[in-house]
């Protein structure tokens, strides 16, 4: 599997990462190198093998339904570049 320049631009757009035209060939090369590395996995025959979700067989841990968190609005917005009255502020998005 490999990506072309169009796919690189498209992935960048979906992730809302600004990529200049000059950066595209470089990123394309990096992505293809990663994909080629991961591609080695397809050499292993996994016919009839269930995907492994955990190293040891275990059940997903579940929480009891109690309110045990929250009420930390100061902390939640502390790192926000822009905030007001405990709201995060982002450049206007209107559909």
């Amino acid at each position: 599997m490999s990506v072309d320049a169009t796919t690189v631009r498209r992935i960048a757009h979906l992730a809302r990462i600004a990529v200049t035209e000059a950066e595209v060939p470089h990123l394309q090369g990096e992505l293809n190198a990663m994909l080629a590395f991961v591609e080695q996995l397809s050499e292993v025959n996994v016919d009839g093998i269930e995907p492994m979700t955990s190293v040891r067989p275990m059940e997903m841990k579940k929480r009891a339904d109690v309110v045990s968190d929250g009420e930390i609005a100061d902390d939640v917005v502390r790192n926000a570049p822009e905030r007001q009255d405990h709201f995060f502020l982002v450049p206007k998005v209107v559909e």
Partner: protein, 492 residues
């Protein structure tokens, strides 16, 4: 059960059929969020019901709320659906300020609940069966405010991460009435189960509506999705508008673009939401932070055993137990509060078997009628279930006539009080000793020989006498007894 015929729309080239499917998002009733311990309570101060998990701070890990799982399984059981003992959470990737994670945790290939079905009630006592495709658990998104500043959007994460059940119907719905009936029934089932409060104004229940049109029985057309509908009436209006819009385009030789649209209730029209946007590419993949959701057959069986009586079962019991009509039974069970009120009346009745149906008539006609007129709902009824049961008892055992009962109802509505005591205190008892009214009957017969002749020739004319006697007695005699007495006296 008679199967519904659905509405077709007349176009210039003949009849068109609508094909409709709904995705309903129902907020799970739980105290805390799907994957964090923050509160789900509505209307907190901005970002107060938010944990560092909901804010997607680095290193935070989701841990599933067992109550949300339980509620999803119970809902699946209420929809007669297949419960999947193993399901998987996936990441639905998108970039937008309503999701600090950059993805929504949802279920894509393996939902917790599979196929089921819902029977909906339509006008004229008809029903339709609507298939359920699936139900899955997912996170709600944050709320954005766009009107606070000209250049910035304000983000409140309080809703972010609240558990939602997305309930997807099969494209079995064929007109607006069926769509409205489906949402109404779904809401009713959720509220009986207590798995979603169904409050559409607060957004606890909202629907995306997929509409396409085709020639009856023909191949499927291209669909448009009307997003985020939070009123059952608007759903109906939006479908009607959208179907006509599509028919017009096709009949003018155009093609329908598959797109997302919004309904504007003020203008009564739908409009395109994103005209130029490329097709969604959510790049779903299994969430590596969460193991598959697994539970046992025994867990499901235990939840099934504890399910409350649902509207369809309650309706059947009312019909079988008290001889209610299917329509009356549907009216009573539609809202859980109404059904509970009627059940309380039943429990207080002296003779349920005798007066169960009479009680239903009084709850529906007198009480609901009056509440509607006053714009009140059952929870604020000035007449309690106990008082209404007493009035019904008094009619049932012959203490008062139906006519006097309406006066009594009015007094109880206005002034309150114990109906039995009121009947005593105000002399409203029905005269059961016919000897006392025999003289009245004799006098009326003696004074109206012409009417006597009429009644002898045409027995239906006896009603005139009944009316006269009722009037003379102030409505306090039993019309049936008067009828019998008159027949004897007149020899008919």
């Amino acid at each position: 059960m008679s199967t519904a015929t659905h509405k077709l729309i007349k176009g210039a080239t003949g009849d068109w059929e609508m094909v409709i499917g709904l995705e309903v998002h129902a907020q799970v009733t739980s105290k805390s969020k799907l994957f964090s311990g923050a509160s789900t309570e509505f209307g907190g101060e901005p970002n107060t019901h938010v944990s560092l998990v909901d804010a997607a701070m680095p290193g935070m890990l989701p841990v599933i709320n067992e109550e949300c799982v339980r509620q999803a399984v119970r809902t699946g059981l209420g929809l007669n659906a297949q419960i999947n003992l193993r399901s998987v959470f996936d990441r639905k990737n998108y970039f937008y300020p309503d999701s600090p994670q950059g993805y929504q945790i949802s279920q894509y290939k393996s939902p917790v609940v599979g196929e089921g079905e819902v029977t909906v009630e339509l006008d004229g006592g008809k029903t339709a069966t609507i298939g359920i495709e699936r139900l899955h658990l997912e996170q709600d998104a944050a709320k954005l405010l766009h009107d606070q500043s000209p250049s910035m959007s304000f983000v409140d994460l309080n809703r972010s991460g609240v558990g939602l059940m997305e309930i997807v119907s099969k494209p079995d719905i064929r007109d607006a009435e069926q769509a409205k009936a489906y949402v109404t029934k779904l809401r009713s089932i959720l509220r009986y189960l207590g798995t979603c409060d169904g409050d559409m104004e607060k957004g606890s229940l909202r629907a995306d509506v997929n509409v396409s049109v085709r020639k009856p029985g023909g191949p499927l057309g291209t669909r448009c999705e009307i997003k985020n509908m939070n009123s059952i009436n608007f759903i109906g209006q939006a479908i009607e508008y959208e179907a006509r819009r599509q028919i017009e385009i096709i009949e003018d030789g155009g093609v329908i673009d598959q797109e997302t649209r919004l309904y504007d209730p003020n203008k009564g029209e739908t409009r395109s939401m994103r005209s130029k946007e490329e097709a969604h590419d959510y790049r779903y993949f299994p969430d590596p932070d969460l193991l598959p959701l697994e539970f046992s057959e025994a867990y499901v069986a235990a939840l099934k055993a504890e399910l409350p009586e649902l509207p369809d079962q309650k309706k059947a019991r009312f019909i079988a137990g008290f001889g209610l009509s299917a329509y009356d039974a549907s009216v009573l069970v539609a809202e859980r509060e109404s059904a509970d009120f009627y059940e309380t009346v039943l429990a207080k009745l002296a003779d349920q078997a005798r007066d169960g149906k009479l009680a239903a008539n009084w709850v529906i006609n007198e009480l609901f009628g009056r509440l509607n007129k006053e714009g009140q709902d059952i929870t604020g009824s000035p007449v309690s279930a106990e008082q209404l049961a007493a009035i019904v008892d008094l009619i049932g055992d012959g203490t008062i006539s139906g006519k006097i009962a309406k006066d009594l109802f009015e007094i109880v509505w206005q002034e309150g009080g114990d109906p039995r005591a009121l009947v005593e205190a105000r002399g409203m008892k029905q005269v059961t000793d016919l000897g006392a009214i025999e003289k009245v009957v004799d006098d009326i017969i003696a004074a109206n020989p012409d009417k006597v002749e009429q009644a002898k020739a045409k027995p239906a004319a006896i009603q005139w006498f009944v009316g006269q006697v009722m009037k003379a007695s102030g409505g306090k005699v039993d019309p049936k007894a008067v009828n019998v007495l008159l027949k004897t006296k007149l020899g008919i």
